[in-house]
Every structure is written in structure tokens, then in C-alpha cells.
């Protein structure tokens, strides 16, 4: 089981150091944004790990740490047991080829001066051994078609595409090198359902056939449920809960997860358009700022279950069989489901 672990994060921390441009500039002085604050993860070969969490809780930052685009303030990242921070030169390059990433902001991550074919083909320029020179064009066309774009679009520039099309370009680039791990930051958020279905199917197929491991950040709980085996729920830079997908959806083990699930827009009205509109549950209180996380449990300010204990004592992530939760009441919440 453990030898199967391909990517392991241990206590990853990323702080964005504040400090205004000039001493006399107004604003948050030296406030430090604790974007990611001690996150551990395990990703097995062929596994799909979903990451969900409130906007701004550090998911994208975590992904950037996982693909070593940013140096963690603290913590380690191990790939097949090897510390990634130690990789240099050719070894790092080889590693990069195996771990690819799809960025959240599709347009910003595409060089406006390159044509789409060049953007995707860049992977082959960097790793010339992946696809023989002669076969590149065909491979690019193939990748474009895989994500539902026309091969002829290879000659267009990024700005000539719609938002969803750009997102697919990003996915095609992520897949170009045939990585072992694909880190996806909201890969399907801008796609219409039909194209989304195609892309999801593609990812599933790659998983099945090539053992591609996925880290899948998404807000669409339905898609996460469809794609992933396990889910990590993050709140304010920390892991709130980790669990297999079904178990989590069945019985949430953290009040935040509970709130999250309950806020999922219902598809009832699609099935029955005349059903009454559901009243949405909005979490009480303001989300706290990552530069001044509340003491004790970070969720306590908005938690319906919050008690005095939560206000002073930070709950640790405790393992509960297949799952783990960071709430003083996880046991109580799981009491029904975990035998």
C-alpha cells in the first residue's frame, strides 16, 4: 500500500510574506498570509484525490507546492520517497515530466504570443524524447481533439478562444507529456456539461488505462464525486477532513463539510422544474482572513457546533479508520457511520 504512494506531502506550509512596497505605504503592514498552513497528503498511483474547500483556502497554493513551482515555507514533498526539493537539473526535469499541472486561470497561463500548437508543442521542445519530431504535429492534433478542440485550431492564438476552449488548451498541455500525476486546478469549471463530460471521461480513461494519478481541485461537488476516490476538504489553509468520497458524501465528518454539502445547488429543479426553490444555507458569519486566523479551531467563528473548547484548543487531524477529521466532534458526527 505505501509503496504505491507516488506523491506525499508532509506538513506543507506556505506563507506569503507581507510588507508594503515602501515603508510609508498604507495597508496591511507586514501581515503574513498563511495560504497553506501544514497540509499532509498522500497520493497513490492511479488514485484520484479531490480537493474541495472554500474559495481562498489555499487549494491553488497547495497545488503549486505539489508541483514544486513554489518553495514551501516549511514541510516536505516526497515523490516516490524522494525529497523533491533536492532535485536539480536533469533529475528535476525528469520529475517535472511525470508531474504536470493544469492552471486555474486558463488565459493567464497561456503565452499570448504563441499559437496553440506551439503552446502544446512546447512540452515536446522541452522533452524532445517524448515524441519524435516527425510525429509531433500529429500528436498535437490528437491532443486537441482529445479535449474536444479542432486540430485546425493549432494555428490560432489564445485570445481567439473562448474561456472554455482556453481551459481545454491547458488540459491538453497538461496531458501532452503523459504524466504520472496530473494536478488539476478547476479543470472543468468553464466547460459546458457536455464538454465537461468528455473531459471527465478522458481523465477517467487515462486513470484506468495508464494509472494516471489525479489531484482534482473543484468546486463542483458532483464532478468531484464522479471523478475522485478520496476527498480532502480544506479550510483556511488546513485540512479539515480527508475521506473516501462515498463515505464523505454520506456522512460528513466535519461541520464545514456538512455546510459545504448542504450548500450544493440542488438538481431537483432540473428533474422537476416545478419543485419549490430550496432555501440556501449560507454559512453564518464572515470567513476569517488567512492573515489572522482565529485561535483555536479555525472554523469556530462560523461553526454551528462551536463550543468553548473550540475557541481555545485547535483540533488535530485524527485518523478514523479510512478517514481523518480535524474537529473535536468528528467522532460524534461519524458515530452513526463508522461501525
Amino acid at each position: 500500500m505505501t509503496d504505491d504512494v507516488i506523491l506525499r506531502a508532509e506538513g506543507l506550509v506556505k506563507h506569503y510574506g507581507g510588507g508594503p512596497a515602501l515603508p510609508w505605504r498604507r495597508g496591511r503592514g507586514a501581515a503574513v498570509v498563511r495560504a497553506v498552513d501544514g497540509v499532509g497528503l498522500e497520493l497513490r498511483r492511479g488514485q484520484a484525490l479531490g480537493i474541495v474547500g472554500e474559495s481562498g483556502c489555499g487549494k491553488s497554493t497547495l497545488l503549486r507546492l505539489l508541483c514544486a513551482l513554489e518553495r514551501p515555507t516549511d514541510g516536505r514533498l516526497l515523490f516516490e520517497g524522494e525529497d523533491v526539493a533536492r532535485l536539480r537539473g536533469a533529475a528535476l526535469k525528469r520529475w517535472r515530466r511525470r508531474v504536470q499541472v493544469v492552471f486555474q486561470d486558463p488565459y493567464a497561463s497561456l503565452n499570448p504570443r504563441l499559437r496553440v500548437g506551439e503552446i502544446i508543442g512546447e512540452a515536446f521542445d522541452v522533452h524532445p524524447d517524448v515524441v519524435p519530431r516527425a510525429g509531433r504535429r500529429a500528436r498535437i492534433a490528437e491532443l486537441l481533439e482529445l479535449v474536444g478542440l479542432d486540430a485546425r485550431h493549432a494555428d490560432r492564438y489564445p485570445h481567439q478562444f473562448s474561456g472554455g476552449q482556453r481551459q481545454r488548451i491547458g488540459i491538453a498541455r497538461g496531458l501532452a507529456l503523459g504524466p504520472d500525476v496530473l494536478l488539476c486546478d478547476e479543470p472543468v469549471s468553464a466547460l459546458d456539461l457536455s464538454v465537461q463530460a468528455q473531459v471527465v471521461n478522458l481523465l477517467l480513461k487515462l486513470r484506468r488505462e495508464l494509472g494516471l494519478a489525479l489531484v482534482f481541485v473543484s468546486h463542483d461537488l458532483g464532478v468531484v464525486r464522479h471523478v475522485c476516490d478520496d476527498v480532502t476538504v480544506m479550510y483556511l489553509g488546513k485540512v479539515a477532513e480527508q475521506a473516501p468520497v462515498d463515505a464523505l458524501y454520506a456522512v460528513p465528518g466535519h461541520p464545514y463539510t456538512e455546510a459545504l454539502l448542504s450548500a450544493e445547488p440542488s438538481l431537483d429543479r432540473i428533474r422537476d422544474p416545478h419543485a419549490p426553490r430550496r432555501t440556501r444555507i449560507v454559512l453564518a458569519g464572515d470567513p476569517p482572513s488567512p492573515s489572522a486566523p482565529p485561535p483555536g479551531c479555525r472554523f469556530h467563528t462560523r461553526c454551528p457546533r462551536a463550543q468553548d473548547l473550540c475557541r481555545d484548543t485547535e483540533p488535530l487531524l485524527t485518523v478514523w479508520g479510512q478517514r481523518a477529521g480535524a474537529c473535536h466532534f468528528t467522532d460524534a458526527m461519524l458515530a452513526g457511520s463508522v461501525d
Partner: protein, 308 residues
């Protein structure tokens, strides 16, 4: 940020020392004998030459001369030129002239360069763009000398709008004409760089957002586009500021302004190591300060560029 600035300030000291020596050595290596040159066609008596050489330590090896000079400099004694002028007094008299001329020219150049560059880049092939192209070519085609004399004969002699030469009217009267000519001659570079830089930014997506916010084109241009295009522009301005003296040499001559440029020019011709070094050092420090400020401005203008 503060540490960054401090570090940069500290590094100026060794660099200044290197430059003083380098410049001193270069002046030393200049061909010609300044003392003999003093006399023009009528040679000085050999004994006088020998006396003068001894006085100025000209017979010592380069390094000893340099140490002499630096020692005096640290004592605040700038010494005398070979033709007997008090260097400190001359600098005190001349700096204000050059600074007034240079800064006025720079201001004119900035206004001209920025305005025309910004509009040319914003509306490529528009009226301003075409006019700028024409003006640039004109400026490049006419040698500075010709332009300056033309301006002098036309605006000062024919029309009597300005004094012909000299700094007796003080600022701005005496400086307006030379500074304008200098500014006009130098604005093309800034305008071209600004134009290109603006053109690079003008098609960015946030410009569209600004339009969707219902902002007037001018506000979009000056408030949003320009700032994003500013990095090369302020770099260029920094270079310009540092290059003021270079442009001032001819101007000061033609408009008979007793500034640093003239002094520098003469000092080079006369191999006045001390003067050249002093001036170069001041310039170096000025240049490095300007660059430091520009580098700090990068961080202010574009938050994605941060030096810490």
C-alpha cells in the same frame, strides 16, 4: 525593501572607488601632454614645464598621483586646474547652471515624449503617431549643432523672444530656449519607447474591463494603460536623467552657459584627471541613485516586481 535599498547604497562605495581609479587611469592614459598643450603654439620654457609638472605631481607614477588626488579630495581640497582655476569654486559656480539646463530640458522632454508616445501607442497610425514619426525623423536628421544654431538665430536673433546666450537672465528666461531645443532633440527616444510599450499593453484584457467600467479613453490611457507600460518608460527616463550632462556639452557651448558640460569637455581636453574624476564620481553616484530609485519604482509601479 529597506534592506534592498541599503544594500544598494552600500555597494556604491566600492564601486565609486573603482570608478575613480578607472577614470583617473583613463585620463592618465589619454594622449598628449597637458602642460605643453597649455601653451598652444608658443612653447613654454622647459624649466617652467618642469616646475609645473612637479607642482601637479605629473612625474609620479599613476598610482601615486591617484593617491595624492584622493588624499586631497578626502580633505575637501579639489585643487587647481592646470591653467590655474580653483576647481571647487568652478564646480560651485557651474553645477547650478547645468542642473537648471538639464532639468528644464528633461521636463520638456518628458512632457513631449510621454504625451506623444502615449497617444501614438494608443492610436497606432493615428495623427499623433504619424506626427511623431515625422518629428522623430526630423530630429534624427538634423544634427544638434545645426538645430541649436538655427533656434538661436531664429528665435533669439530674428524674433528676439529669448536671450541669445548666457545665463544672465537666470531661470527660466535664459534656459528656456536651450532647454527646449535639447528637450526636443532628445524626446524621440522616450517617445518611441513609450509608444511601443503602450502598444504592448493597449490590447490587454484589463483595458476592456476599464472600458466596461465606463471610463473615458483618457482615463483608461493615463490611469490604466500607462502605468502598466511604465517600466521601460521610467527606465528610459532614468537613463535620460543620467545622460543630461552628455547632452549639455554642445548646448552649453552654443548658448554660452558656463556649466559642467563645458568644464568637463575642457578638462578632458586638458587631461585634468582631478576634474574628470570628481565629475564622473558625482555622475556615477547620481546615476546609481537614479537607478536605485528607478528600481524601487518598479516595485511600486508593478507589484509583481518586488525586490526584497
Amino acid at each position: 525593501m529597506l534592506r534592498f535599498a541599503l544594500r544598494r547604497l552600500l555597494i556604491m562605495i566600492p564601486i565609486a572607488v573603482i570608478v575613480t581609479f578607472l577614470v583617473y587611469a583613463m585620463v592618465f592614459a589619454l594622449p598628449g601632454d597637458p602642460i605643453r598643450a597649455l601653451s598652444g603654439q608658443k612653447p613654454l620654457a622647459e624649466s617652467v614645464i618642469a616646475a609645473k609638472r612637479a607642482y601637479y605631481h605629473l612625474n609620479d607614477p599613476l598610482f601615486v598621483q591617484y593617491l595624492h588626488f584622493m588624499g586631497n579630495l578626502l580633505k575637501g581640497d579639489l585643487g587647481q586646474t592646470f591653467d590655474g582655476q580653483d576647481i571647487g569654486e568652478q564646480l560651485a559656480l557651474r553645477w547650478p547652471v547645468t542642473l537648471q539646463l538639464g532639468l528644464t530640458a528633461l521636463a520638456i522632454q518628458l512632457v513631449l515624449g510621454l504625451v506623444s508616445g502615449v497617444y501614438a501607442g494608443w492610436r497606432r497610425d493615428g495623427l499623433v503617431d504619424r506626427a511623431l514619426l515625422g518629428a522623430t525623423l526630423g530630429v534624427l536628421a538634423v544634427p544638434g549643432l545645426v538645430a541649436m544654431f538655427f533656434a538661436q538665430s531664429f528665435f533669439a536673433v530674428e524674433l528676439s523672444w529669448f536671450p541669445v546666450s548666457g545665463a544672465t537672465d537666470g531661470w527660466p528666461g535664459s534656459y528656456l530656449l536651450p532647454a527646449t531645443v535639447l528637450g526636443v532633440l532628445g524626446f524621440a527616444g522616450l517617445a518611441r519607447v513609450t509608444r511601443t510599450s503602450i502598444a504592448e499593453v493597449a490590447s490587454a484584457d484589463f483595458v476592456r474591463t476599464a472600458r466596461a467600467k465606463g471610463l473615458a479613453p483618457n482615463r483608461i490611457l493615463w490611469g490604466h494603460v500607462l502605468r502598466n507600460a511604465m517600466l521601460p518608460v521610467i527606465t528610459y527616463i532614468g537613463l535620460d536623467l543620467a545622460g543630461i550632462l552628455g547632452g549639455a556639452i554642445i548646448t552649453e557651448g552654443i548658448y554660452n552657459l558656463n556649466g559642467i558640460g563645458q568644464f568637463m569637455f575642457r578638462s578632458i581636453a586638458m587631461k585634468e584627471g582631478g576634474v574628470v574624476v570628481t565629475l564622473s564620481t558625482v555622475l556615477l553616484l547620481g546615476y546609481m541613485l537614479v537607478n536605485l530609485v528607478v528600481d524601487l519604482l518598479y516595485g511600486l509601479l508593478d507589484p509583481r516586481v518586488r525586490h526584497v
